[in-house]
Symmetry: none
Subunit: 203 residues, 4 copies
């Protein structure tokens, strides 16, 4: 018996899988996971609904792979930043910039994450979401706390509230940001950082 019964597990023709996942991600992002039928995905891919099941186990497994791929790359980027051992302000700037780059690269996945994560956490299959959220929170809280200790961030703010403020502020941008628009990810990151760090009030 050969070892690659399931094409899902084989390394053969990974480009097709990847293409299909991109298509699926776009439809999921556009219409929402629940409202997306596998037939719509298949239509976009130019095939019949049943044919998707040659490549994937289920609609849910597509969702899983989309989110997993995104989070893997996100953490790869974050880890590169964190390994640099920058100061808290520079870390925050680098993380925000990296976040906008990820939005740029994985906009559909980010939008899906935003909309669906809450309902998915709690399903064993999506445990990696909760795990990522824990690491995420820890990373940001630590950075903020270091900043407060170092005197580069304001000490009079509720730190958890600040965490949520920064986190949300950055990631919701995925809901309107369109790659290829007039602002590059770095440009938007710079402006956001300016607002987050210094506020919008004139001094």
């Amino acid at each position: 018996m050969p070892t690659k019964k399931k094409p899902q597990e084989s390394a053969a023709a990974p480009e097709r899988r990847s293409e299909l996942l991109h298509t699926a991600a776009e439809v999921f992002a556009e219409q929402g996971y629940n409202a997306t039928t596998v037939r719509k995905i298949a239509d976009h891919a130019g095939m019949l609904a049943g044919s998707l099941y040659y490549h994937f186990d289920s609609k849910e497994s597509m969702l899983e792979e989309i989110l997993r791929t995104f989070l893997d790359e996100l953490w790869s980027g974050y880890d590169t930043v964190l390994d640099d051992d920058l100061g808290p302000r520079e870390t925050l700037e680098a993380l925000v910039t990296e976040s906008f780059r990820e939005i740029d690269r994985h906009r559909p996945a980010v939008a899906i994450y935003q909309r669906e994560a809450k309902a998915l956490v709690g399903q064993e299959r999506f445990d990696f979401l909760a795990e990522s959220q824990r690491r995420f929170e820890k990373t940001w809280l630590t950075t903020l706390e270091r900043g407060v200790a170092d005197g580069v961030f304001r000490a009079d703010l509720d730190i958890r509230l600040t965490y949520r403020f920064v986190r949300d502020t950055v990631w919701v941008a995925a809901s309107w940001y369109r790659p290829g628009g007039q602002h590059s990810a770095e440009e938007i990151a710079r402006q956001y950082l300016s607002m987050v760090l210094d506020g919008i009030a004139a001094r």
Copy 2:
């Protein structure tokens, strides 16, 4: 003969309707509109799925009424603020504070709005959403522009980006804010305003 065919339009027992809408809103907010079956709503209300149709035309009409009620009250609050003809900074502060109060009062509706609005805009029945978004954008942009003109807001920021920044920053809070928690709406508003206006960096 009085109108009796469509109880939806009658004034009979409006408290029951309201109760049911609250129940529905909570389930919609918890699980998402698409993932919510009318049976789940009925379960929460202690009745059978079919019975809901005595009170409402359809699942969609519940959604519509929930969002409409929320937006009506939101605009009622905003209009009160706007009628005061405050300066731009004070207007912004008052709008943000009012927004957190609405989150407090209509948390499920806000969460539903956030998640579903994009897919609903474009359906005739939900034209009021687009209308509200237009007014919303105009109100905020005007306020920001006045502030820039008056020198109370920084002039070096992209004003549309700033608008999105402020808008999103406030409303995503609905995704984690729980009424009755340790922070009141006004308290949270104050902290958010402090961050939005002055930033999180120490001066």
Copy 3:
């Protein structure tokens, strides 16, 4: 919240359930469980396929209930026999007669059991099948052993082989026996017993 959300669990209108189960059992027996579509069952019942799901959780749950009901009644009959504490030969005669009566009452269920049991044993949901098989074997083996000890059954036979011989001989009859035919269950039982006990050779 009412306690009877699931009509499956309520005692209301059990006749409808029972009717539907009879219909399903007949189709299962006629065509085999796998080859039977829920649509066929619904057709026979004069309703649409989806409507069956108001009464039952799944096609499999219908199968389960059919088999469980049959085995419950079978054991009820067997237990009555066994409680009489008859001699081994009389016990065997009574069990065989009772078996034919059950075939008479539950012919479709018996046919389904015969065809599907092997594939179902091993599924947790159908554990009661294995349990029943164990009791069945024990009951028959004990009876045969007692008979050999008492000298009413031949001692020169492999007792397990004899058990299978008797067991199969009786139950396969379900595949051709039609209730309402020219032979009553008792009549057939009598002839079978005559063959099983004394053989078909002239003395």
Copy 4:
């Protein structure tokens, strides 16, 4: 140009066909024809589902060939017996013994036959099943009748019932008989014959 389009009909590599049919028969017997997917067969054969179609026209044609091969050999054996023109009791003994030998050689096919024949009879492609059943019935009934006429079988039994009794009793054994077990086919045949002819009661 030799026939090359339909390898099914060619004599090329008949061992591979035979191997594949054995594999298929085992899976059919194990799980049932309907529940067996061609992919399962292919898995067992170490190939992909589509590849089977180089060897066979369809899943159904595999089933047909399995059953046809079995019945051909069965009748070949029976005919040898019948050509001997033995007395009725010896004929019966020889047929039963031959049947157990066929179970030994074609256990999967026998099991498939038992489970599926009823649903297949009526399809033109499987007319040979009905034909075989007719010959089978005639052969046994004739033998029994001769036996009664000669006084070697009991005259007080319903002859059709006796026919079913003997037929079923022998063939169901395929459901539990495992070749290579402790009893040889001849051994089992001898014990069965002893029970069928003389009964299980002590004299």
